[in-house]
């Protein structure tokens, strides 16, 4: 394991220290417990948005703290959901009197810890609602799984719900927008290589020189199945097909196409995937009206990508286009 770190135990703390110093104009980092809030939190009268989860997915979530997106992010240890304390503290810190929305990726740990924090916050008189993101079509949403995982759709949801809160929507309306995004977004990912969690010191799984994992999540878990290495177009097909099968978009629908890098894949490859994915969507009669390509929710230095398709309507498009000013996503400000 070669990493630009000092001590695996200090990775999150030192990352946050650097993040604070680099982005003091946008965010304030609290230590012990660790959480990140926008510099002007709480915004009076605005619904507060709190997300969080294990670290290692940077820029998610701390990179999305700022006007028009999240009010707070709560980073746990690498790939480990944070405990209730920092979630509670972050919730308190961003409550502007209009209640707080928890954006939780669907993992047992995240759900349990956010639930507990929400209970504690309610005891402190803060109204908390939660949306649990579950966009990963690699996992069947059935009795036999913990349900679909929350993956790259989370970025889109945070942006759009953040815009809804920013325009003054109340908690129930922001929640409804978030639920709508979650209902209309699907993702699927592939890994060409594993990643190495600092405290584990070895790759999260062992992959042969000519094998790839289809249907991976964002925590270095093995995927649904392993296939021989294939050309980008064929891999792209294997991500697009299950998304379309699951989402069943009506022909003529407008969509946002998001190709996300897992952290160790060159941007050029993401555009190659985007190019073919877009063709596939257009062949299916869809109109790609918005796009996002880059490393937005990663698995440390894993090589691979995910494809996300979000069905758009005028409202979601307007919210997507709304100004946002965060360390990792900035536009219109």
């Amino acid at each position: 394991m070669k990493k630009l770190i000092n001590d695996p135990a200090n990775v999150v703390a030192e990352t946050l220290a650097g993040f604070q110093a680099a982005h003091a104009d946008l965010v304030t980092v609290h230590f012990d417990p660790d959480y990140v809030v926008r510099a002007d939190a709480p915004v009076k009268g605005k619904v507060g948005l709190v997300s969080g989860g294990g670290s290692g997915h940077e820029p998610l979530h701390a990179g999305y703290v700022g006007k028009g997106m999240l009010d707070a992010a709560v980073p746990g240890a690498v790939f480990t959901s944070p405990t209730p304390d920092p979630i509670l503290e972050a919730t308190k810190a961003v409550d502007g009197g209009a209640g707080v929305l928890h954006i939780v990726k669907n993992y047992t740990g995240d759900v349990l810890n956010f639930e507990t924090a929400a209970e504690l916050a309610e005891m402190d008189g803060i109204t908390v609602k939660a949306v649990v993101v579950n966009d990963d079509v690699a996992v069947e949403d059935s009795l036999y799984t913990a349900g679909r995982r929350g993956v790259a759709g989370t970025v889109l949801l945070e942006k759009i719900a953040g815009a809804a809160a920013d325009r003054g929507d109340d908690l129930d309306t922001v929640l409804a927008v978030a639920e709508k995004v979650n209902a209309q977004v699907r993702s699927m990912g592939v890994a060409l290589s594993a990643c190495t969690v600092p405290h584990a010191g070895k790759p999260s799984f062992d992959l042969g020189e000519d094998e790839i994992e289809i249907g991976i999540g964002i925590h270095g878990e093995p995927g649904r199945h392993r296939i021989p290495m294939a050309p980008a177009d064929s891999i792209t097909d294997q991500l697009v097909d299950p998304i379309l099968t699951d989402l069943k978009p009506a022909s003529g629908s407008k969509v946002l196409l998001f190709v996300n890098g897992m952290g160790g894949t060159p941007e050029s490859e993401l555009y190659i995937v985007y190019n073919h994915a877009r063709k596939r969507l257009e062949d299916a009669g869809l109109e790609v009206t918005r796009s996002l390509v880059g490393n937005y929710i990663t698995s440390l230095e894993m090589q691979g990508c995910s494809i996300t398709v979000l069905l758009l309507d005028d409202e979601l498009t307007a919210l997507w286009d709304a100004p946002v000013n965060t360390p990792a996503l900035r536009r219109g400000v």
């Binding site: 240890a77 480990t80 304390d85 740990g109 969690v197 584990a200």
Partner: protein, 210 residues
């Protein structure tokens, strides 16, 4: 061997559990790498180190020790196992009245299992720590019914938990992160069931040494 296990034993148990979890940190990481995200050993190690740093030797009640463990695990472990073990120790603390005889041991284990199920909604056969706690409870009950003392009850529970953990190998996970793997989860031992066996073995070892 005394008839009951007191707060000093509880402190010794948790200290022993910390040592054993630290020793098995990499083994638990490897089990979790195979079907999860590779952090279980790190999570448990971090949590129990934090617990030991807070263990108050002056604590006079078993219940008080377990409550401290619960609160500390809840606030330091994170992930799925943090709330699960946190709730387990909280309910165990609630169930512990005074020092533990073998019925007390049964109550503590029953409380832990109940807490885990309440939070995680898993049942047996789903390849989780429930598959270690459930046979552990049955074995402790049997031992208590047979008039065996608390140390023996913990030993029976620990052995059953260990067997239960091993029995998760052929199971397909349907709860937790391992469920994402579908059939590929088969053939690996569940990390949480394994840490459960380690913790209960630490309880038996320290109880026998009382």
């Amino acid at each position: 061997m005394t008839e009951t296990l007191n707060a000093a034993w509880a402190v010794a148990w948790i200290r022993r559990a910390q040592v054993v979890l630290a020793e098995n940190r990499m083994e638990l990481i490897d089990l979790d790498r195979a079907i999860g995200d590779g952090d279980h050993g790190e999570n448990m190690d971090r949590g129990f180190k934090a617990v030991v740093a807070k263990l108050d030797a002056g604590e006079t009640e078993v219940s008080g020790v377990l409550k401290l463990v619960a609160a500390t695990l809840m606030s330091t472990v994170g992930g799925a196992s943090g709330p699960l073990y946190g709730t387990a120790f909280l309910r165990a603390a609630k169930a512990a009245e005074g020092d533990l005889d073998s019925n007390g041991v049964v109550a503590v284990i029953a409380g832990a299992l109940e807490g885990i199920v309440a939070r995680g909604k898993a049942t047996t056969g789903e390849k989780t720590m429930v598959d270690a706690w459930t046979p552990a409870l049955a074995a402790a009950q049997e031992a208590a019914a047979a008039g065996i003392g608390p140390a023996g009850a913990f030993r029976a529970a620990a052995n059953a938990a260990q067997a239960g953990a091993e029995a998760t190998i052929p199971m397909q996970a349907t709860k937790g992160r391992a469920s994402y793997l579908g059939e590929r989860s088969i053939g690996h031992q569940d990390p949480g069931a394994t840490s459960t066996a380690l913790i209960l073995t630490a309880a038996a070892d320290t109880a026998e040494a009382v």
